[in-house]
């Protein structure tokens, strides 16, 4: 019986080195160890091209190669009969292999040695199981499919974006025992992502930003491919230092660096999945664990399905929020208490729309512009009820077109306020509607400097 390549995916985790045999033009065989074989699809694998070595010289003359991979659980060996097709030096496959190679290199103390020059793509002509004794021990597994079903079932019941995100991250923990997770949305400038929800961290990090191309989340956003890393990797960690470096050199608006990114200091495993809507990237779902080798191919499969569903749900709820429901009489009737206590000074810096509350940094960018508009409007007119739609139509906010998720911005702002100032609150009052609750007197000031 010929096993399918897909059924061998455990062999491609890099846990047990593989071996490759090639043949030179003068008929001399060559055999070498491989750090990992990358599963591409049912008919293709890719090998890392790190040095111009004999293997590479040989396959450029004679495209046939034979690889032996080992299942890291059963110890069964498989022979793959391959034919070299092409080398990719950029794009999703290359980025994916680069991240995984960095992980293996870091794990094996080879960080300075392994460097990906290209991804060599091979057609798989045949797969053969080598006779041998299978290790009877199997690894315990969470039932991913039933967990996925439960997660999706819970999402269906969510009527607004904030609830959807919370239920989704809680579902990851309840059904898959994934305890550290976050969702980042792509800024319409296409250069950065901002954290809109997280779970499992001391500080939520809502409002923190990462640059596209930087760290695992940024690389996933740039290459639009899921990346899964099973070892601690320096290159794909987020440190304040690298984020500041990027912030300093950032073109256009500076990256948000005042709010720390919420990730684990020492992640043993990381998995990031892009949220795609057709060919449009909405954001990235990121999960991590202090344990090494925590996430399998099956976890990746499940998260990719969840992310597809999530992208559709986010888009649906965001579009709905652009059209406010009729205001509920009951909610409007709620008396807003008069502000009282010591006045709070709020300052706005138009250069980057940053907002400070009693000299403490609150937020900047689009969310900063929104809160400033709401506070000013309330000071001038006494109005507390607002709609998403009027924000969208307000030219002074310079909101991008509908591709920007305004609802996600409001959630970010709502959460940042809840964490930083108890006397300012944004409260949802219905689809596309919200209320600004202010419980202390405010003194608004616009600064001309930066």
């Amino acid at each position: 019986m010929t096993p399918s390549l897909r059924s061998l995916r455990r062999c491609f985790e890099g846990a047990v080195p593989a071996s490759i045999a090639t043949c030179s033009p003068d008929g001399m065989p060559n055999v070498a160890k491989l750090s990992h074989v990358h599963f591409l699809d049912d008919a293709h694998v890719a090998l890392s091209y790190q040095f111009f070595n004999k293997t590479r010289e040989n396959i450029l003359h004679n495209a046939r190669a034979t690889v032996e991979v080992v299942d890291p659980v059963s110890a069964i060996h498989y022979t793959l009969w391959l034919e070299y097709l092409r080398t990719e030096t950029e794009g999703p496959l290359f980025e994916n292999m680069k991240a995984r190679l960095a992980a293996i290199a870091s794990h094996t103390g080879m960080s300075k040695v392994f460097r990906l020059l290209g991804s060599d793509v091979y057609r798989v002509l045949g797969v053969e199981a080598v006779p041998g004794e299978a290790n009877p021990e199997t690894s315990a597994r969470v039932d991913l499919l039933s967990g996925l079903r439960a997660c999706l079932g819970e999402l269906t019941a969510c009527a607004d974006l904030a609830h959807l995100l919370d239920v989704m991250l809680a579902g990851l923990e309840r059904h898959w025992d994934i305890r550290h997770s976050m969702l980042l949305m792509l800024d319409p400038d296409g250069k950065r992502l901002y954290t809109v929800a997280s779970r499992g961290y001391a500080e939520s990090g809502v409002g923190s930003e990462v640059r596209v191309g930087e760290g695992i989340v940024g690389v996933v956003a740039g290459a639009r491919t899921p990346i899964r890393i099973g070892y601690a990797v320096q290159e794909y960690r987020y440190s304040q230092a690298t984020r500041r470096r990027f912030a300093d050199s950032a073109d256009g608006e500076a990256l948000e660096t005042e709010i720390p990114f919420p990730g684990l200091a020492e992640a043993g495993s990381q998995l990031a999945v892009p949220l795609m809507l057709g060919d449009r990237l909405l954001g990235v779902l990121y999960v991590e664990s202090p344990l090494e080798q925590r996430f399998t191919y099956e976890d990746e499969d499940a998260l990719v399905v969840l992310a597809a569903h999530l992208a559709l749900s986010i888009d649906f709820l965001s579009r709905a929020a652009e059209h406010p429901a009729e205001a509920s009489a009951k909610l409007i009737a709620v008396a807003v208490s008069e502000p009282h206590g010591i006045p709070v000074q709020i300052r706005h810096f138009p250069a980057d729309n940053s907002v400070f509350v009693d000299n403490q940094y609150l937020i900047k960018g689009v969310a900063g512009a929104i809160i400033w508009k709401l506070l000013r409007e309330q000071a001038e007119t006494g109005r507390a009820e607002f709609t998403n739609r009027e924000l969208r139509l307000d030219a002074s906010l310079k909101l991008p077109d509908v591709t920007d998720n305004l609802d996600a911005r409001l959630i970010l702002l709502q959460r940042r306020l809840a964490e930083r100032c108890a006397f300012l609150a944004i409260e949802k009052t219905g689809r596309g509607r919200f209320r600004l609750n202010v419980t202390r007197p405010l003194q608004l000031g616009q600064s001309t400097g930066n």
Partner: protein, 166 residues
């Protein structure tokens, strides 16, 4: 170039390395230059270090044994998991021979040493046992004279052909 009655290609240190806790993979090719590959379970180096014999399980190595029987050349890579230290040896011809007295003991000892090494690296005992189980299979030796030795430890010297030291 075949070595005349000069120094053997393998030095004593390299010979000791080949007999240590290493993963051994052997390759050859058929008449259409399609490569064949199999894991070997231990090796024996002759006292004068001019002959290497690697042990292959008959049921696990059918393709390569067929190619070697047809007279194709042989390559073998030896890699120590703990240090990534790796050597490749090539020979113009591999001679298939029955196990000799003492060979089975070498196979089992090599298997046990390799198992012990990878268990220290975190692999389970049951995985290591299953990995090395073919050391008990019906087996043959593939004997060859090393024509060339290559450094293959990952790093700047990978691929370098090693000459005998005077």
């Amino acid at each position: 170039m075949p070595q005349m009655k000069s120094d053997p290609l393998l030095d004593a240190k390299q010979a000791a390395f080949l007999g240590g806790p290493v993963a051994i993979n052997v390759a050859s090719h058929d008449a259409a230059q399609i490569p064949s590959i199999a894991r070997a379970y231990g090796c024996r180096i002759s006292a004068d270090r001019r002959e290497v014999v690697v042990f292959l399980s008959k049921r696990c190595a059918q393709a390569i044994l067929r190619d070697l029987a047809a007279g194709a050349p042989v390559a073998a890579v030896f890699s120590r998991p703990k240090t990534h230290e790796t050597l490749q040896i090539k020979g113009a011809r591999g001679r298939i021979q029955p196990l000799q007295a003492g060979d089975r003991a070498i196979m089992r000892a090599c298997g046990a040493a390799f198992s012990a090494e990878i268990m220290l690296l975190g692999y389970s005992a049951s995985f290591s046992d299953a990995l090395m189980a073919p050391a008990n299979d019906d087996a043959v030796g593939v004997a060859f004279m090393p024509d060339a030795v290559f450094e293959q430890t990952p790093g700047p010297k990978a691929g370098m052909r090693l000459e005998p030291k005077p």
